[in-house]
């Protein structure tokens, strides 16, 4: 029995409509029932997915030229500041920038999602006026269809094994992990565990630059490694990083996105962020990768970190498994504490199923990465003032 196959061979099967695709949850049962060898002969692709807040997102937009033309500066979109630091009618809007009049309830994420929904947004800009761009102000209502290009760029997402949060101080704290109640009364966690993309391919054997992915309903691509990319982390025997590891940068066309899979979020006393739905197909090229995909929540360990410690490095309160977190309660030093997710497993499952379907029907072909990621990347803190 063959114990290897190539991405090309898988694509041939997809084109013929005979590729077998399973979600990362379904494949666990298959491997448990039939063992790696038999399972390998039965599955070609495993789909993984996540749907959760990804703060490091934004969009590049090109508005086209007015007549007479303007070099856009001091740009706002529905009151949210966008960058005036690109070429004349290009801009970048970050999801976390807020409209100062919205009391933190409307930001770049809302602008991006309004565009995707087909709503019109108000572009306002003033400029100093130059010989080639004489105009000094512009104000227009524009829709996504009016723009030349509009693409999402996300510099860090799909965090591999992001830590869970607790607050052991005696005051509530308001974080991007939600409201953490005093005296350790709740724990929040933010990955989809056994369905999470980079936990299914922890050594990034099949995922690299150029990998085609499901990005908020569009076919997007992995553009680069994500920021704070860390592949030299300590790992458990099953390859899962002991602390937050790899991340991805991704890109995709706003015009192809579905508002179901990209939504704005607001965290009390923290700010605006963007929920992004991502699905990554994993070609089952050998036994090793199938073994990784078959890892289940009870085998994925993660740390619960005390977010009340106002330092870069926060202490670990307990190391637990996703199975325990998913049970809704966790025992910490004899105290039963409520656990709650931050990313939507329901939506992630929907994405994994959708991607599975797209591959089965030949709508979505796998791509061979043009470059693989390095496995010795480290993360540096910001240099201290007295560092040389």
């Amino acid at each position: 029995m063959a114990n290897q196959r190539t991405i090309q061979e898988i694509n041939e099967k997809i084109k013929k409509g005979v590729a077998v695709v399973m979600t990362a949850e379904e494949v666990i049962d298959l491997v448990n029932d039939q063992g790696i060898e038999d399972a390998f002969s039965k599955v070609d692709v495993v789909t993984t997915a996540t749907f959760g807040p990804m703060c490091s997102s934004g969009a590049f937009l090109n508005f086209g030229h007015a007549d007479p033309p303007i070099r856009l500066e001091n740009i706002t979109l529905n009151g949210v500041t966008a960058s005036g630091g690109l070429a004349a009618v290009d801009t970048f809007i970050g999801v976390a920038d807020e409209d100062p009049n919205s009391h933190g309830e409307y930001g770049g994420a809302h602008v991006i999602c309004d565009l995707i929904k087909g709503n019109s947004i108000k572009l306002k800009s003033t400029a100093k006026g130059t010989d080639c761009y004489p105009r000094t102000s512009v104000e227009r209502e524009v829709k996504l269809e009016d723009l030349n290009e509009a693409f999402l760029f996300n510099a860090r997402n799909s965090y591999q094994n992001y830590s869970s949060a607790i607050n052991l101080s005696n005051e509530p704290i308001f974080t991007y992990m939600g409201t953490l109640l005093p005296n350790g009364q709740n724990v929040t966690y933010s990955t989809t565990g056994q369905l999470s993309p980079l936990l299914n391919d922890p050594y990034l054997k099949t995922i690299g630059i150029g990998t085609r992915i499901f990005l908020a309903g569009a076919q997007g691509y992995i553009a680069w490694n994500g920021t704070q990319f860390n592949t030299s982390v300590d790992r458990y025997d099953n390859g899962i990083p002991k602390s937050p590891g790899a991340t991805l940068s991704v890109i995709g066309n706003l015009k192809d996105m579905n508002p179901e899979y990209i939504t704005p979020v607001v965290f009390k006393n923290y700010g605006v962020s963007l929920n992004v739905g991502i699905g990554i197909p994993i070609p089952i090229v050998d036994h090793e990768i199938l073994k990784q995909c078959a890892i289940s929540d009870d085998q994925i360990q993660t740390d619960i970190i005390d977010y009340s410690v106002k330092k870069r490095s926060k202490p670990t309160v307990k190391t637990t498994t996703y199975k325990e977190l998913r049970s809704g309660e966790i025992d910490i030093d004899g105290k039963i504490i409520k656990t709650a997710p931050l990313s939507s497993l329901r939506k992630a499952r929907e994405i994994a199923d959708k991607l599975k379907n797209q591959i089965q029907t030949g709508e979505f072909l796998l791509s061979e990465p043009v470059e693989y990621f390095k496995l010795d990347s480290k993360v540096k803190p910001l240099k201290e003032e007295d560092d040389k």
Partner: protein, 133 residues
């Protein structure tokens, strides 16, 4: 059977000892979930009563006869299903377990009977799907 009543006192009646009257007149098992007086001197109470429907009905009529507004409600919040992403974060602050999420389907469920009207979930929902009812 449990019933929640939302009471609004006009400023002129805010000092009515309503809870005392209700217990005395109707021998009701009453639980005050919330009580406050706003800057307009309008008083608000959220009661939870245990008792049969007939008794509750006459209580409502009695309260209204005093000139106090009284409304029977299921819970203090409503969830917009179109905005809810089923993330589950609201369950992290709901100690009555009125909001819950879990296997097998991981969609949010809301048991209005258990809701104690604390409204903690409203600001916590990142999708802004929970509003005051």
């Amino acid at each position: 059977m449990k019933t929640k009543l939302k009471i609004t006192f006009p400023a002129s009646l805010t000092d009515t000892p309503l809870t005392y009257l209700l217990i005395k007149e109707f021998d009701l098992k009453v639980n005050i979930l919330k009580a406050d007086i706003d800057f307009n001197n309008v008083g608000h109470i959220l009661y939870e009563f245990t008792g049969d429907q007939g008794k509750i009905q006459s209580t409502i009529e009695y309260i209204k006869s005093l000139g106090i507004t009284c409304e029977s409600i299921k819970s203090t919040i409503k969830i917009d299903e179109n905005l809810c992403t089923d993330c589950g974060l609201c369950t992290s602050v709901c100690f009555s377990k009125s909001l819950s999420i879990g296997a097998p389907d991981w969609t949010l469920s809301f048991d209005t009977d258990k809701c104690i009207g604390c409204n903690h979930c409203i600001p916590v929902c990142p999708a802004r799907a929970i509003k005051e009812a």
